[in-house]
Amino acid sequence: MSELKATRDAYGEALVEAGKNNENIVVVDADLSASTKTAKFRKHFPDRFFNVGVAEQNLIDIAAGLSTCGKIVFASSFALFATGRPWEQIRNTVAYSNLNVKIVASHGGISVGADGSSHQSLEDIAIMRVVPNMKVVVPCDANESYQAVLSAVAVPGPFYIRLGREKVPVITGSGNEFRVGKANVLKDGSDVTIIACGIMVDSAMKAADILAKDGLKAAVIDMHTIKPIDTEIIMKYAEKTGCVVTAEEHNVIGGLGGAVCEFLSENHPLPVYRVGTRDCFGQSGEPVSLLQKYGMTPQDICEGAKKVIKMKR
């Protein structure tokens, strides 16, 4: 059994590590530092931490102002409020001028659970991906989260990093190399390719095991960077397997599934099935029950895989 750890916990640890090495790193939060785990940074570097209260538009533009003075700014809230409320601030002020602001949000996806639809972000990947200059990263586990945060320090310009609330299995080894825009192939296969991000990477690995029992060899790709997406690896596996399933804890419109389909339809048309919420809102419930209810389980990925395998010419 692999270790369980939330990606947001790794964020807090990575921030402290980054803060030790670089005094230009500052953090801005909007009254959620205990949940986003930026409180860990505040404890070590109280002078470099700014709470703006419940004011997400102010959060983003204060971050923008700090960045113009040479700071590497991490701005955090929940995924819905870090991207939805201040979308235009992100678009017009942060992204337009390519400012060094890293928006790192916890509580992405439906696995937020009991708080219900108002707190379940199922559109954030789409609305961040559509903004020019923005890089979008959805780590699959705590290891990857830690590395993604340190990478965002090293790569100038705006980032959106989406993290989760729940403790999830650590599935990548410590030797796992994280590079922005370079996907990791976790499992090779020849019948179907499963491209997943976030907590759905673990489900994709489980789906591959189930499919193997039926004699089907599924490749699993951890597409941690949705933008810029790794088109090289998509092309390689599209040619190798001839069909694709995408899996994300997000609306099937505009997120990872959308990004994969956009690339494939222009460059290598083939059957794709997108696992995710089907253009609907969530509700309160246990994360596991919600993932079942809204069709984001390993079983759902398997069914999608069989569908696209059948559609192959």
Partner: protein, 280 residues
């Protein structure tokens, strides 16, 4: 630079010529708010701010945020006159390929500290810059100019709260209170008055002035820029929309409409005439 009223009068008239010429040529733009804000900006740039045109991103410079980004022609006329970029760029306003976008772009125009255009955001950015100044123990000041209609944006008050909370006495703003916005009088569209009381209650200190009286403007910016009491400063400046062009003054339609070529010619002639009466 020391205060010199004659110099400022002359300079402001010359800058108004540039503004009217630029917008007339472009065929679109925002003359009303550019002209109402100009005197506030001229005093700030020529007399108050610590900046170096030859080193536009000098780390210790004072910062400026044009939160009402549609007054871009006013700031372009000043920056080019001070030598941040060539005056030859001015006719390019709003043309494809030009550095002079309809609203200011920090990546294209030397001397612009932040890109603006969408109202309500500038004060937050200025708060971020002022926080950085405090964190780095720098002496630089952060100045911002806001519109009065812009005060209807809720984010302005998020930022006002944060500025007082973090005791940003290195932050000073002016509100260009020309009283008009696109749809009409500000108090009829959505009344932001009393502006002074609002800032006071948010923990700021305030000064109300005539935004076209150079001596009052100078005193106010100097007062705001030398603050050390832990409070941010707001100057509420009564101004005239379209100031300096007789047929634009207090005419709401000239918020976002360029003069026709004939109107432009007429305006330029009148400003030149007035300029002739100012002592050289």
């Amino acid at each position: 630079m020391k205060f010199d009223e004659e110099f400022l009068k002359r300079k402001a008239a010359e800058l108004r010529l540039d503004i009217v010429e630029m917008i007339t040529r472009a065929g679109s733009g925002h003359p009303g708010g550019s002209l109402s804000a100009l005197d506030l900006l001229a005093v700030l740039y020529y007399c108050i701010m610590n900046i170096k045109p030859e080193k536009p991103v000098w780390k210790d410079r004072d910062r400026f945020v044009l939160s009402k980004g549609h007054a871009a022609p006013a700031i372009y006329s000043i920056l080019s006159d001070m030598g941040f970029f060539s005056k030859k760029e001015l006719p390019g306003l709003r043309r494809i390929g030009s550095i002079l976008q309809g609203h200011p772009d920090m990546r294209k125009v030397p001397g612009i500290d932040i890109s603006t255009g969408s109202l309500g955001q500038g004060l937050s950015v200025a708060v971020g810059m002022a926080l950085a100044g405090k964190l780095d123990a720098k002496d630089y000041k952060v100045y911002a100019l806001l519109g009065d209609g812009e005060l209807q944006e809720g984010q302005v008050w998020e930022a006002a709260m944060a500025a007082a909370h973090y005791k940003l006495d290195n932050l000073a703003i002016a509100v260009d209170n020309n009283g008009l916005q696109i749809d009409g009088k500000i108090e009829e569209v959505m009344n932001p008055y009393p502006i002074e009381d609002k800032f006071l209650s948010f923990g700021w200190k305030i000064k109300s002035i005539d935004g076209h009286d150079f001596a009052e403007i100078f005193d106010a910016w100097e007062w705001a820029g030398s603050s050390k009491d832990g409070k941010p400063s707001a100057i509420i400046a009564k101004t005239v929309k379209g100031k300096g062009v007789y047929f634009m003054e207090n005419v709401v339609e000239f918020h976002g409409k360029a003069p026709t070529p004939e109107e432009g010619k007429d305006a330029l002639a009148k400003i030149k005439e007035a300029l002739g009466k100012i002592k050289p």
